[in-house]
Symmetry: C2
Subunit: 127 residues, 2 copies
DNA sequence: CAACTAATGCGACTATGTTGCAATAATAAA
DNA sequence: TTTATTATTGCAACATAGTCGCATTAGTTG
């Protein structure tokens, strides 16, 4: 797949992700667009942006799919992944920078890894 | 909350979890019961068993809530968690035994952690 | 065994996500 | 610039996961 046409909707969504380092669910994005974009379009654009490697996705602890801009990652034979963090006070979800490497275990081949953390973020702690 | 009455439905669900070390979603459980229990009852019992500390839950990468028997865990000041693993061939979800400890980071207070891994399990690899 | 009330089944509902189809708009070709 | 092509969009209907109120059923206690 990948992006074929550079549409206004696509640019609008990309701008929102570029304006902050937050991760967003389809619904949060939909709200932030003041519902001026069709719900299916939001879902379809998120999927296309992920296919194209511009966004990546992960599941929150509440079973909601979140998307964030894909950062460059280290490459090696092992599977690696950065943790995702949700603040229990302000509810913001962000990608953490520190990569975690999962060595291949002897009994199973690990192909994908996801770490999700919950707690209090820096700015909520200092209030 | 917690369990107040020991009903047939409760025993049925507990037996299914005790018969294997698999983790199950509400729907997998519902199927395994040959749909002989009401869907709401399944959800309510899973919630109650979790409140009571008998089951624990986690989100799969497909944003589905899974439940498994709670094992005894190490206790310390740090947050700890065992990873969950889903085989991409047979789709089984299991808890891994190795606990992972998350030291408290300087910038945020971590209260909960979840690790989800995907890959090929031992028995699928050796086929 | 009677009384109390937690647990259940039912149906309606919400939230999240998907799909087919006709209309629209981005791009390529003339 | 204009036209032709077809990816993208909005709409509506659908699918799946999960929740809730309420009347009935069935554990538990005395």
């Amino acid at each position: 797949m990948g992006i074929l046409r550079k549409t206004k909707n696509l640019e609008t969504i990309l701008d929102i992700f570029r304006q902050s380092n937050e991760a967003l669910s389809a619904n949060l994005l939909f709200e932030r667009l003041h519902e001026r974009m069709n719900r299916s379009t939001v879902y379809r654009l998120l999927e296309r942006l992920e296919d194209d490697g511009i966004l990546h996705s992960f599941a929150s602890m509440d079973n909601v799919k979140f998307y964030a801009l894909r950062q460059d990652c280290i490459s090696s034979g092992d599977v690696h992944s950065h943790p995702h963090f949700q603040c229990t006070s302000c509810n913001q979800v962000v990608c953490l920078e520190q990569e975690v490497v999962f060595p291949t275990l002897n009994r199973m081949r690990i192909e994908e890894a996801q770490i999700f953390l919950k707690g209090q973020c820096n700015s909520c702690l200092s209030q």
